[in-house]
Symmetry: C2
Subunit: 255 residues, 2 copies
């Protein structure tokens, strides 16, 4: 059964895209088939996978607007070894473009129906917002992976994210649940990180993933080379952390 | 003449809110009168100023929707010594709420008309998006302050920001120009930071501000105490950097 995860947090800059690209590549390294969906008009998951977003024949925007089928949009990201539904700035027009469309929150879910059986995992990178693009991701997903930088603003923002998850679960997607809270850019030497981490564990208990992603400059360098860190610097702390994350996700889903 | 700056970058987590709260407090320290406008439904500039966003009588949302006047919304943020137009999650409803309204991008500009003469500076904190809330901020502003973390995704995102600025300047706000590019979370020891910084200087030349905000944990700790870093730890590197920024902004505006 295909596992579809939305990787989301409306707080900006917490490591959503970095997690999508590197977890996708790490799951491929364990011989799983993976589709990465870029639902952010910034198109950073597309860029970080080595794809030139200005050269796209078709993108997620065309898919959501019903102007292209999934076969026309789907490409292979050579660097990571996974398939990709790429995005570019056109996607910013989807919110207004779909405003009067019926079932507008289900566009992605319906588009994925015909291909999801080809994959073990589908990861969806979300923009830093609780807008229609994120709602589409939450409606298509079974689980939600929430990257959290262990700082005050990122912790505080979880309340509105949880409210949104409850709303989506009680309306369009009853099966939706939290796959895990992922601590990112973790710096064990500083007490703020530890305080926030302790608060996460107190509140979310077992939902907090054991794997912690450390702050590691290789993770910030890899995107400029258009590849996941596993290809850029396989022995780096960043690579090892995302491989460990893939292992934990597999274990937690008894795979 | 009141200087109105939009502090914006659709890339998430680059230090927009941290810059707004701490530049506002630093300008107050130089005896200027400052109004801070929170245009982000996350309400982090409100929280970072020590205001409980759940207890607001009225917020920026009511102002944009025409349901409250600016006097009912404006409050004083004791900790920083500046006035604030606070925000909470209601603001997320403004984009859809204003969809069919005429002059919907000018709502903030018109609301500020009656009070802007009370201030030397108005700073507007933007959400990590190029949506109607950011367009309202860009329409109300004379200048744009762009915080940039010196990393690949943040650098890459500047192209769509520049496109948006050009569009706004050629339509609703002809006077809009870049006040400055602010390098944030700057870590001089790492070569990626230096590479990106050099690219910024090459492209933007004099628009890149001389003041650089270093990575400093005190800046991340201060918000959990509901105050600018100038009140939390006045001798920290973060405080000194934002005071220096206030000085540079004053010099560049011959004040
Ligand atoms: N563990 C890490 N160590 C060091 N740098 C990191 C780490 N994770 C992410 N980064 C860097 O931090 C920045 C923010 O990460 P990223 O862009 O993945 O976050 P995001 O949540 O997707 O942001 P947005 O909200 O804009 O979509 C990027 O420059 C990225 O390269
Ligand atoms: N110079 C700095 N040194 C250390 N930490 C910083 C610095 N500037 C900001 N931070 C921290 O980094 C995180 C991101 O900063 P901030 O929230 O201000 O960015 P933002 O651009 O407003 O994010 P968003 O896109 O979500 O609105 C916060 O936890 C903040 O406390
Ligand atoms: Mg991202
Ligand atoms: Mg912010």
């Amino acid at each position: 059964m295909t596992k579809i995860f939305a990787v989301t947090n409306q707080k900006g800059g917490v490591g959503k895209t970095t997690t999508c690209v590197n977890l996708a590549a790490s799951l491929v390294a364990t011989k799983r088939k993976v589709l990465l969906v870029d639902m952010d008009p910034q198109g950073h998951a597309t860029l970080g996978s080595g794809i030139d977003k200005k050269q796209l024949q078709a993108s997620v925007y065309d898919l959501l607007m019903g102007e292209a089928g999934i076969e026309a949009v789907r490409i292979t990201a050579e660097a990571g070894g996974y398939d990709l539904l790429p995005a570019n700035v056109d996607l910013a027009g989807a919110e207004v473009g779909l405003i009067n469309e019926p079932r507008r929150e289900r566009r992605l879910a319906e588009a994925l129906e015909s291909v999801k059986k080809d994959y073990d995992f589908v990861l969806i990178d979300c923009p830093p917002s609780l807008n229609l693009l994120t709602i589409n991701a939450l409606t298509a997903a079974r689980g939600v992976l929430v990257p959290v930088q262990c700082e005050y603003y990122a912790l505080e923002g979880l309340t509105s994210l949880l409210d949104t998850l409850k709303r989506v679960a009680s309306s369009v997607n009853p099966g939706l649940e939290i796959t895990g809270i992922l601590r990112t850019m973790y710096d064990p030497r500083n007490s703020l990180t530890q305080d926030v981490s302790n608060q996460l564990i107190q509140y979310f208990e077992r939902q907090v993933l054991g794997t912690v992603i450390p702050r590691n400059i290789r993770l910030a360098e890899a995107p400029s080379h258009g590849m996941p860190v596993l290809s850029y610097d396989p022995k780096s702390k960043g690579s090892l952390a995302y491989l460990a994350l893939a292992g934990e996700i597999l274990r937690r889903n008894s795979l």
